[in-house]
Structure formats: structure tokens, C-alpha cells
């Protein structure tokens, strides 16, 4: 099955997760403007599905029945070959507040997965709650971005992507970033 993506080694593939249609469109545009390849989904469950991770493989205690079935689930230019694309995801950027599985829940599941635990995960939130932020960073998120996410925030993601791409990641090199990007309020 022919893949529509140009397998250029310098192009990174980002999986974006956000239940807000507007924010999804925005993050997609931000990422594409920065020359990232993007797949945008509207829930944590769809993200796991895209990666090829069965919900049941991960931890229990999910309630993903509240998904709005009317929203478009996946928007991607590329062919839906989940296995290939799942392994080709270089970074996951997810909203924190989502119905059912939160971005934090998704983070935990990714980090528990042997196949995907080394994929860098970035969390976005409209709320500046220090305890929330530290918890995410402590539990493996690379960055925590305050919404609305801007082009300058997206430009900061590239170093994490380069790190995430390498198959020989030395986990002791992982930096826990406590830098916050505050948008003017």
C-alpha cells in the first residue's frame, strides 16, 4: 500500500490530541507552518488507537464513552496505515482537559507502553495550575504549554523531537523542563 508521506528523515510527525475543533485546527496549522507532519485526533482513545495501542493493553479505569461521536475523529493528509504511522510518531502534543481520558491519563498510558514510552509528550492547557504542571512534568511530560499555543512555543519543540527520534535514547539524558510559556493575559 503506497504511503502518501514523503519519508524524508528531516520531517517529523506529530500526533496532536485535542477535543476542541478550533484548537485542533490551530495546532495543526502551527505545526504545519513549522514543517511538521501532523495527525490530529479528538480524544486520547483515538490517539491510542492511532498508535496501534489497544485501550485494554494500557491501564484500566477509563471511561471513554463520553466521546462526541459527531466530531471528526482523525484529520490527516496521509494514508491510515496505523502500524507504520504509529511507529513514525516523533512527538505527541495533547490538551490536558478532555472528556473521558485526560491528557494526563494519556501521558501515563504512553509512558507505560514499551513501544511508545520514549516518544516525547507535551501537554497543553488553558489553565495555569502549578500542581497540575509539576505532576505532568514529574510523570514524564517534556513540556507544559499554556494555551493559546503560539508559533514561538512550537519552535521550542524541535529539540525534543530530535531526541525522540533517536533509537538510542539514553534515559538519563531526559530533561525535565520546568519552563512555562505564559501567554499574555
Amino acid at each position: 500500500m503506497g504511503m502518501a508521506i514523503d519519508r524524508d528523515d528531516t520531517q517529523f510527525h506529530v500526533l496532536a490530541v485535542d477535543d476542541s475543533l478550533i484548537d485542533r485546527k490551530l495546532i495543526e496549522r502551527l505545526l504545519k507552518t513549522s514543517s511538521f507532519q501532523v495527525t490530529a485526533v479528538d480524544s486520547g482513545s483515538k490517539a491510542l488507537e492511532f498508535l496501534g495501542l489497544n485501550n485494554n493493553d494500557a491501564d484500566d479505569d477509563e471511561e471513554d464513552e463520553q466521546r462526541d461521536s459527531n466530531t471528526e475523529s482523525v484529520s490527516s493528509d496521509e494514508d491510515q496505515d496505523h502500524q507504520d504511522l504509529g511507529l513514525g510518531v516523533n512527538l505527541i502534543i495533547t490538551d490536558y482537559c478532555m472528556p473521558g481520558m485526560t491528557g494526563y491519563d494519556l501521558l501515563k498510558k504512553i509512558k507505560k507502553s514499551s513501544s511508545f514510552k520514549d516518544i516525547p509528550v507535551v501537554i497543553m492547557s488553558s489553565e495555569n495550575i502549578p500542581s497540575r504542571i509539576s505532576r505532568c512534568l514529574e510523570d514524564g511530560a517534556e513540556e507544559f504549554l499554556l494555551k493559546p499555543v503560539q508559533l514561538s512555543d512550537v519552535n521550542k519543540l524541535r529539540p525534543h523531537l530530535v531526541k525522540g527520534r533517536s533509537k538510542d535514547i539514553d534515559s538519563s539524558h531526559k530533561t525535565t523542563s520546568t519552563r512555562l510559556i505564559t501567554s499574555g493575559n
Partner: protein, 150 residues
């Protein structure tokens, strides 16, 4: 630089949207994302915002009719509205939604209802102004908006 009178008008409209506090710098962030391949990006996002807002306003209206008020549900809905308003730079609408959420947290029904009426007014005004703005922009042609930084 705006020799074309329509462009001058567009630029002036845009400036007043910022000066009068209807829009904040996030709108400019959206404009930064315009390019030849996506010349209508801002208008597309704003159109999504109208659609999303209509849904939220309807749900909020319904929720505000219930007795007793479910403040948690109201707060949840307004959290979404605040988020999308913030994402497009809708400054006044965002301010009202913040105020509404504060009333939810303190369980102030009267405050919620009053603020919601105000929010709807602000939203309607913004929508009207933006529709006029984009209408003019479209008339001018598939060029970038008057003050796109380059």
C-alpha cells in the same frame, strides 16, 4: 502605504478592533499563520468559532433554565467557551467568560445569568464586526490582510 481606499478602510477596521479591545494579540498570532497556501486561515478559524459558540450558547441557555442550577456543568461549558474565545483572541468575550466562571465557583446564580447576557451581547457585537471585516477583506481580493507583518 495603503493607497487603495478599501485597504485603508480594512486596516482602519482592523486597528479599531484592537484599540477598542474586541481582539487581543492572539488574533495577530492567527494572522501570522496566513500564507499563499492558506490565505483564508483566519476566517476559517473564526467561522469554526461561530459554529462552536452557537452550540455552547444554546447549551448554556438550556443549562441556565434548570432549577437548581448545576454550577459544575455551567462551569464546564464556559471553560470550553473561554478556551475557544481565547484561541481566536476574542478579548471581551473571554473576559465575560472568566467572570461567569468566577460566579459559578461562588455559586452566584444571579451573577451567572447577568454575565451570560452580557457575554451574548459581546459575542454578537464581535461577530458582526468580524463578519463586516472579512466581507471587506474578501472584496479586496485574495491578498493578505492589510497589516500582515512581513
Amino acid at each position: 502605504m495603503e493607497r487603495n481606499p478599501m485597504r485603508r478602510q480594512l486596516a482602519s477596521m482592523r486597528k479599531s478592533l484592537f484599540d477598542q479591545g474586541y481582539l487581543d494579540e492572539q488574533f495577530m498570532e492567527l494572522e501570522q499563520l496566513l500564507d499563499d497556501a492558506n490565505p483564508n486561515f483566519v476566517e476559517e478559524v473564526v467561522t469554526l468559532y461561530y459554529r462552536d459558540s452557537a452550540r455552547l450558547i444554546l447549551n448554556l441557555d438550556r443549562a441556565l433554565e434548570r432549577r437548581p442550577l448545576d454550577f459544575s456543568k455551567l462551569d464546564g461549558l464556559m471553560h470550553q467557551f473561554k478556551g475557544s474565545s481565547s484561541s481566536i483572541g476574542a478579548k471581551k468575550v473571554k473576559a465575560e467568560s472568566t467572570l461567569f466562571r468566577e460566579y459559578c465557583k461562588s455559586g452566584n446564580a444571579e451573577g451567572c445569568m447577568r454575565t451570560f447576557q452580557q457575554l451574548k451581547k459581546e459575542y454578537a457585537t464581535l461577530r458582526k464586526k468580524l463578519e463586516t471585516y472579512f466581507q471587506l477583506a474578501r472584496q479586496i481580493g485574495p491578498m493578505e490582510s492589510a497589516n500582515r507583518p512581513k
